[in-house]
Subunit: 233 residues, 2 copies
């Protein structure tokens, strides 16, 4: 079973590869599974290649000397990890940690550069991908810089809906919060206690129903409205 299965590939930048290149990829790639909690690479490490996420959820976390910490990016199935330092020719600037058990394929920098040289379209698709990633990073920068914890939490739930939301036949939306309160807090630049309180406040206002790590939302519009019009109307 090749790591780069067609099902996943066609939705990613790897769709640019020719059959020969797919063959090269599959020969060079090293795949393994990582349990939750495992660290894939550490900030400061030299970047030896990149990691294609076949399945699972990974967080890129930055930490400083005082222990202050924040999650700067999430990587889902089909995403690629480590491309930023590879392309910028830098060391890793974040630590990658598995949030949900993952299957990850490593591809070394030399192979990657060979593919980029032989296939300009691959570079163009990476360009598009990284441009979107920059847009998301700037969006979250804006949110943390300008919005309240409550609003940031709602943005986070809406964001997680893309990958962890399911809608039942009667239109009710369920969103799984796929990580601890601590990690949710690090995603929005807050403390776990503040996340707990904000979630309860939003629940008390009838915007969602929380049980454990699952959020039930009856009227997603009411959530979205608060993002656009603020609390009061």
């Amino acid at each position: 079973m090749p790591c780069l299965s067609a099902r996943i590939r066609t939705k990613t930048e790897w769709d640019a590869l020719t059959p020969d290149e797919i063959d090269l990829f599959n020969r060079k790639v090293v795949c393994r599974t990582y349990p939750a909690g495992q660290v894939i690479f550490v900030q400061g490490d030299p970047c030896k290649g990149l990691y294609f996420i076949e399945d699972g959820l990974i967080a890129a976390r930055k930490v400083d000397e005082e222990g202050q910490s924040a999650i700067v990016r999430l990587a889902y199935q089909g995403d690629t990890l480590g491309y930023r330092p590879l392309l910028a020719k830098e060391n890793h600037r974040a630590t990658a940690e598995v949030i949900k058990d993952a299957k990850i394929c490593f591809i070394g920098a030399p192979t990657m550069h060979r593919l980029l040289r032989s296939n300009p379209r691959l570079g163009m698709l990476f360009l598009e991908h990284i441009a979107q990633a920059l847009g998301e990073a700037e969006e979250r920068l804006f949110q943390v810089a300008a919005l309240s914890v409550r609003t940031r939490i709602i943005h986070l739930v809406v964001l997680l809906r893309d990958h962890y939301g399911t809608t039942t036949s009667d239109g009710t939306l369920f969103v799984e919060l796929p990580m601890t309160r601590r990690d949710l807090a690090e995603m929005i630049g807050a403390r776990p206690e503040s996340v707990s309180r904000a979630l309860r406040d939003i629940q008390d206002d009838g915007l969602m129903d929380l049980s454990g790590r699952t959020v039930r939302v009856d009227q997603i519009d009411r959530l979205i409205d608060e993002l656009h019009h603020g609390l009061h109307i």
Copy 2:
């Protein structure tokens, strides 16, 4: 006088262009000057092409419906603006506003795509550039999410040193803060009053000397140390 002068070009991604392509660039480009305060494009606008900054300083600002606002990026001489939406195939997600009088060259999207198709190396250099921009965005995201206003201010001064710092013969460093307190505040996700107070506090601690928009730093090490070891030692 062609817009893409060799002096600036060789330090940017445009160094990849062949003489023919430079010629095409110079034929297609439209240059003009913008006074401070002028808006170059507005968030939500379709992206019609990109803007090469021959001189000046530009801020990319995000604003929401409630008027909350933050500066998500600065663009200096030699930088290119608008490449993110162009490459991500999105509309502009920020408003570009001139901070210091600028000379800017506009190059339309069709020309740009033609250059990218004819010259893969241009794409590779953009890839490298945008990868670094993503690194900077994530660094600032971490700072706003995890650090105090005081620390963020120091980071900002150190950042501005790259483009607005000069060192005298006796080793004293002068950094110009090239914008209003309001804009400084929007760069770090704070209020102008908080910026004023933080600057005064840092000055009271003898780490810098502030007069108007110029900061004098005698021992840059002491500033940098605070970033790595915190306030106390």
